[in-house]
């Protein structure tokens, strides 16, 4: 079973590596399509930031409604260092991740010292994200609502790429790394302690686990990952403002892909991101195809919502639970 699972993972990785070569690169093997490569990028990118949520919310049970606070921190730190202080964005990137870890540590210390857990913790993260958004709107260093524009200079040494394929492989590397971290969590003592905390905090404490310390550590780790995603986003789209960087929709997206795919599973965010993104793309096109209705696009959201309801209704543990129930995939798959 284990070797079969490993084989599946290897096949998936090979497929992910080959995918952009079908539509891009020096010789597109099928046909040239930056749209297909870009869609692949978005799936992997959302899977990566979704995994950052999953590590805190899924593995450790620390559900957050405001994970975008880390995303925005990363986006702003690297952009400010790059645009205002002339740093190379590659050098600014680890600092952005460190800033995300610091914010995660700060939120965790403040919240968990105050004894917040469950829905209270979820709400306080939402509040933090809003505070950061308002701050970004108010302080001069972020240029407030005017936003920050990164000068287009598409050179790899400048963390900007002329072709879509480079960003795809960057997102793939991040996604694989995040899956590796999730896999490690299922096998390490740290991950076991997080699982214990998730299942029953009091029992974990009784077992001698330093619950506070473990929760702070996992939120710092999650924050660093999400902040790294923020930098990638800023470098890809070259413009951020407080709503883009700290808007609640990103938090919802991270949470949604993990929940739909399977919170607390290794591949949940990737499966969720893939399914939700493809459903989103297809339904957006369906809006164009409804005959006789000029403005059918809003209908796409209704279809999208209905599909979400069906998934949540029939697969409350996420899409990956389909395989677990049939006993065809190993635990945490």
């Amino acid at each position: 079973m284990r070797s079969r699972f490993g084989l599946l993972c290897a096949a998936g990785l090979v497929a992910a590596l080959v995918y952009p070569l079908l539509f891009g690169g020096p010789v597109a093997l099928l046909w040239r399509s930056n749209y297909a490569v870009n869609t692949g990028f978005l799936i992997l990118f959302v899977a990566f930031i979704g995994q950052s949520w999953n590590i805190a919310g899924g593995f450790a049970g620390q559900t957050s409604f405001g994970h975008v606070v880390f995303f925005g921190t990363g986006a702003y730190v690297s952009t400010i260092l790059h645009v205002t202080y002339g740093w190379n964005p590659w050098l600014a990137w680890p600092l952005a991740a460190a800033a995300g870890a610091l914010v995660g540590w700060m939120i965790a210390v403040l919240s968990f010292r105050a004894g917040l857990k469950g829905s209270y913790f979820a709400l306080i993260t939402l509040a933090f994200a809003e505070v950061f958004r308002i701050l970004a709107n108010s302080v001069p260093i972020t240029r407030g609502g005017l936003g920050m524009l990164i000068k287009a200079d598409p050179r790899p040494e400048n963390f900007q790429f002329r072709d879509a394929i480079s960003f795809y492989y960057l997102a793939l590397a991040l996604c694989v790394l995040s899956i590796g971290i999730a896999w490690w969590l299922t096998r390490s003592r740290f991950g076991a302690r997080l699982a214990a905390i998730r299942e029953n905090e009091d029992a974990a404490m009784a077992l001698g686990i330093d619950v506070f310390r473990e929760k702070v550590r996992v939120l710092a780790l999650s924050g660093a990952m999400c902040a790294a995603g923020g930098t990638v986003y800023a470098q890809k789209y070259l413009y951020i403002d407080p709503v883009i960087a700290f808007g609640v929709d990103k938090s919802v997206e991270m949470l949604l892909v993990s929940m739909v795919g399977g919170a607390g599973t290794i591949f949940g965010p990737l499966v969720g991101a893939g399914v939700l993104h493809i459903v989103g793309e297809v339904t957006r096109d369906l809006g164009n195809l409804v005959p006789g209705v000029k403005n059918a696009q809003p209908l796409a959201l209704i279809v999208y919502g209905a599909i979400l309801i069906l998934i949540v209704r029939y697969l409350p543990d996420g899409l990956t639970s389909m395989f677990v129930r049939r006993g065809r995939a190993p635990r945490n798959g």
Partner: protein
């Protein structure tokens, strides 16, 4: 067999002739099809879902009406009557979705894009289109950043917020003649509202007005009671607003209900100053003024289009005629380029002297993608109607300033 042929009067020769004719016709048919000019695809990217869905749908309405009109009039004549074909995209108010639409439409073979209503989406989408050297016409999006990045593929007919602020300040100065001394600026806290407010605060002193307070608000905001109280406390002569539709109307109604007396309410790019607001809340909107994109009230073409839009049950909002104008500009450029080839089309747009019939604009002249002939109008709500009070050559009424006190 032969008898039956004879009985119908068909000789062997005639059958042969018919067969030849049929063969010729069959062969000719594809030739006729081939002679039909290939449609020119135009990508329309607007937020037709999300919190500014109404605005995006109005943009789409204007653009699709223009495409229908151009096609009915015979298409692009220099391209053998090529029709325009709209590809409809929904940005969902998200930057990444807007960029995704650009990529998708590029593969569908668009000759040009038109969009995006929101400045952040426009900034990223134009950048994505620049990779393919595809012209991108901005119908609505106020930020001046859009045309200040040196992108050769970006063209904006309408004035940006810099020009709107300059003209608005000049008009306010001419009306006030030194009577107004203070102002409070209320703006949405996004790129458009913040940028406009910042420019306003910097330029108001030029006409002897001090910005006493600048109040930023969220999108959406559902209650302006506190903002109204702050305005009442500051007791300014002028309240200036720069925000989207719903917040604009709600703030105006709150100030009216709380009987906040000021010399004037003067907005720059007030998103809610439209027929819906002025007709449905005639008492609230009375004497309010706005500097904004407006059609030329003296243009017969604009009046005819307004009637058509209203007859179809929609409002003739600025999105409609700006998108209509953007499509007309594109059609004019295609006509002159005689081709949808990107370099030729970009060159035709860059050298355009298009006369925008609907708008009170001078001759089109693009400098770094920004049309220098674009000017905003200054409007005032008077008895449930929107009247143009400046510039004088397009005005339909004289401004009432200061406004009579609310009792």
């Amino acid at each position: 067999m032969s008898g039956s042929i004879r009985s119908t009067g068909l000789s062997r020769r005639r059958i042969g002739q018919s067969a030849l004719g049929l063969a010729a016709g069959t062969l000719a048919f594809p030739a006729i099809l081939g002679a039909q000019a290939k449609a020119v695809k135009v990508g329309l990217i607007h937020p037709v879902t999300g919190f500014v869905a109404y605005n995006g749908q109005q943009n789409r309405l204007g653009a699709t009406m223009a495409i229908e009109d151009i096609n009915k009039a015979g298409g692009i004549k220099s391209m053998g009557g090529a029709k325009l074909e709209a590809l409809l995209g929904d940005s969902q108010s998200k930057v990444e979705v807007g960029v995704s639409e650009v990529e998708k439409m590029n593969e569908a073979g668009v000759a040009a894009y038109i969009g995006c209503f929101q400045s952040p989406v426009a900034i990223a989408a134009t950048q994505a289109a620049a990779k393919y050297n595809t012209p991108f016409l901005i119908d609505v999006a106020a930020s001046d950043l859009i045309v200040k990045r040196g992108l050769k593929n970006v063209f904006r007919m309408k004035p940006g917020f810099g020009k709107c602020v300059d003209d608005g300040i000049a008009a306010l100065g001419a009306l006030s003649k030194g009577a107004a001394k203070t102002a409070v600026i209320v703006h949405e806290n996004g790129e458009f509202g913040t940028g406009t407010a910042k420019l306003l605060a910097g330029k108001l002193p030029l006409i002897g007005i001090e910005a006493k307070e600048i109040i930023a608000h969220e999108n959406p905001t559902r209650n302006f009671d506190n903002a109204a109280l702050r305005i009442r406390t500051a007791a300014p002569d002028i309240v200036m607003m720069s925000n989207y539709g719903n917040e604009y109307m709600l703030l105006a109604r709150t100030l009216f209900q709380q009987k906040v007396n000021v010399m004037g309410m003067f907005s720059v790019l007030g998103g809610g100053f439209n027929y819906k607001f002025v007709k449905e809340m005639a008492d609230v909107s009375q004497y309010m003024m706005d500097t904004n994109h407006w059609y030329n009230p003296r243009s017969a073409t604009a009046q005819a289009l307004k009637k058509r839009v209203e007859a179809a049950g929609s409002l003739f909002t600025f999105e409609v005629y700006l998108s209509y104008t953007a499509v007309s500009l594109l059609a004019d450029a295609l006509e002159r380029a005689g081709s949808a080839e990107k370099d030729a089309l970009t060159a035709a747009l860059a050298s355009s002297t298009f006369k925008a019939d609907l708008m009170p604009y001078g001759p089109t002249k693009f400098v770094d993608g920004q049309n220098q002939g674009g000017v905003p109008g200054v409007m005032q709500s008077l008895k449930g109607e929107i009247e143009v009070v400046a510039p004088a050559e397009f005005s339909s009424a004289t401004a009432v300033f200061p406004r009579p006190k609310v009792s």
